[in-house]
Symmetry: C2
Subunit: 334 residues, 2 copies
């Protein structure tokens, strides 16, 4: 094991005070450019490595951002984590990742773990079991900035970054209507989750605005897996008259719908048009390729990081909401 090079070692080598070295390595403006460069050159030459753990301890806060999601494997969250951690790393923050596995009890434990690790800030998307947000107050008690994204509690007064789910569903249904569809079904998840609730409202508003009736039998509540799409489509195609378009609350559901329709001998989109949500890569594997509401994941990750950094670096922590617009990605299923 190599001996760790300390700031004092560098100071001794250069014959300057250790505070000068410390300030120079933090690129402080109180240090002349010439000195700063000299210190950095010597530090590199000696193999100095900053100790974030010690810095974090001194500042009573780490340079780590905590990211808590329901499910790391789901394409939406995997892509979000990838985009977010890349940007955070560029800003010199490390990202600690936790998943609730859609369980409230695990989410509560994760909140305690994030606090125990004294993260500089937390970014959270809630589990499907989470109805209220009381367990997140712990962040506030510990003065840790908190931003929600995608799935957020319904309470007001929270900072959040979300896609305009209402608008996404509204656009999808409008596109179906534009292609002559009149009996448009929607297979959705539990409506206590903001994301699904807003998509349902967008679906209904688009029907109303185009003078189409809201038909209870065309609305199926399930979960958000492929299996839910298969079951939902089977039930819908037993109706008389049958639907001529089906919106899935996510791509998994929409792909289940197409699989059922293909297997049962229906033609997509001629008999039934299908649109999903999320631009999951699975949508390219299915035939016909899935038209989907593409969420601006990269922009969501960037906005969430900027909002969190603003809260970390300033005392002004008033809640802020950022709404980003999804767009339809046209492929072959509608």
């Amino acid at each position: 094991m190599k001996k760790n090079v300390t700031i004092k070692d560098i100071a001794k080598e250069l014959g300057v005070h250790h505070t000068t070295v410390s300030l120079a390595l933090r690129n402080s403006k109180s240090i002349r450019e010439e000195t700063r460069k000299k210190v950095w050159d010597k530090a590199n030459e000696m193999g100095y490595r900053p100790n974030r753990l010690a810095q974090g301890f001194r500042n009573k806060r780490s340079n780590t951002i905590g990211l808590l999601v329901p499910n790391i494997q789901h394409h939406f969250f995997a892509k979000f984590i990838a985009e977010f951690s890349e940007k955070a790393n560029q800003e010199d923050y490390a990202v600690m990742v936790f998943q609730s596995n859609e369980k409230l009890a695990t989410e509560k434990k994760n909140v305690e773990a994030l606090i125990a690790n004294r993260v500089a800030g937390a970014l959270v998307s809630i589990s499907k079991e989470t109805i209220e947000a009381n367990h997140f107050k712990a962040f506030n008690e510990e003065d840790i900035p908190l931003v929600f994204f995608d799935r957020t509690p319904t309470q007001t007064g929270l900072s959040r970054v979300v896609a305009d789910n209402f608008h996404g569903a509204y656009q999808a249904v409008s596109q179906m209507i534009g292609k002559g569809r009149k009996r448009i079904a929607f297979i959705t998840g539990s409506s206590h989750i903001n994301v699904y609730h807003e998509r349902l409202q967008g679906y209904q508003q688009a029907l109303i605005d185009h003078g189409l009736p809201l038909n209870e039998e065309l609305l199926i509540y399930g979960d958000f897996f492929m299996e839910d799409g298969i079951k939902g489509a089977k039930k819908l195609m037993q109706l008389s008259p049958q639907p001529d378009a089906i919106l899935g609350v996510g791509d998994d559901v929409a792909i289940g719908v197409i699989k059922f329709l293909n297997g049962a001998g229906y033609k997509v989109p001629d008999d039934v048009a299908v649109i999903g949500f999320d631009n999951d890569p699975m949508g390219i594997a299915i035939e016909p390729e899935l038209t989907t509401v593409d969420q601006p994941i990269k922009e969501m990750a960037e906005s969430a990081l900027q909002l969190l950094l603003k809260n970390i670096n300033s005392d002004d922590k008033k809640p802020e909401e950022i709404l980003l617009t999804p767009r339809i990605l046209e492929r072959k299923s509608c």
Copy 2:
């Protein structure tokens, strides 16, 4: 902001020495069960929260494990991160995630960031640009245990957890041969990556063992995207005679192959059998559903954590290699 409850506050309330509280909260065996319970009850009542950052600083090491992968979004790594972080959390470790984005320069920066954060141990899968492992010596210099998984450097003397890629490809080709296929093609990635090199060797050995010739024209080197499968299949189907089976180095490649074959009017598996690697959910979206070599990701994550914890908690850090066996997941494409 609520005042943090300290160990001394709890000790004062209970009228005991703070060392007693400290030992009790660490569930030390030197403390009587009755006392331990009393301390925990009081700590919970007072809203005590452990400070891992301070603990880490005192121990000169955090309770954080660093996980560095080429691409968080790829299904294999997303699932690995999910499985690994869940197990690590149960052992009271937090997981810090970095991605190299398949770039050597980013991988080097990530190594420095992991060291700066004084992770207790690091788990790494290398980028496709990484040929040698010198930049990982920094972990050793800092006395940070390091385990590689999946994609690993070829050097000896490293700890690693890998699937038996040779055996996986061998099984896949044997299954094709068992179904009467004689002209079996392989679309693979750069052979300097251990994973791809071993799959190539497994493919070749299976052909040799079954008395089939190694045919250069049936071997296509590309990358590991769907596009490589589409291009590779197009080239292969121009041969005369055509192949009657195609093995893809990953599911993305295999799905590209099926998409090309479906589009060009070939029947899968009657005209051409197809097998992939990884059990990506995309394989269920394609028609026919993809037969694939399913990697034991959960077991890999568990073994990697156990090996890393062993290295963290003991001074005996001799390199160890764990090889896990993949199995064929039979669906409809072979």
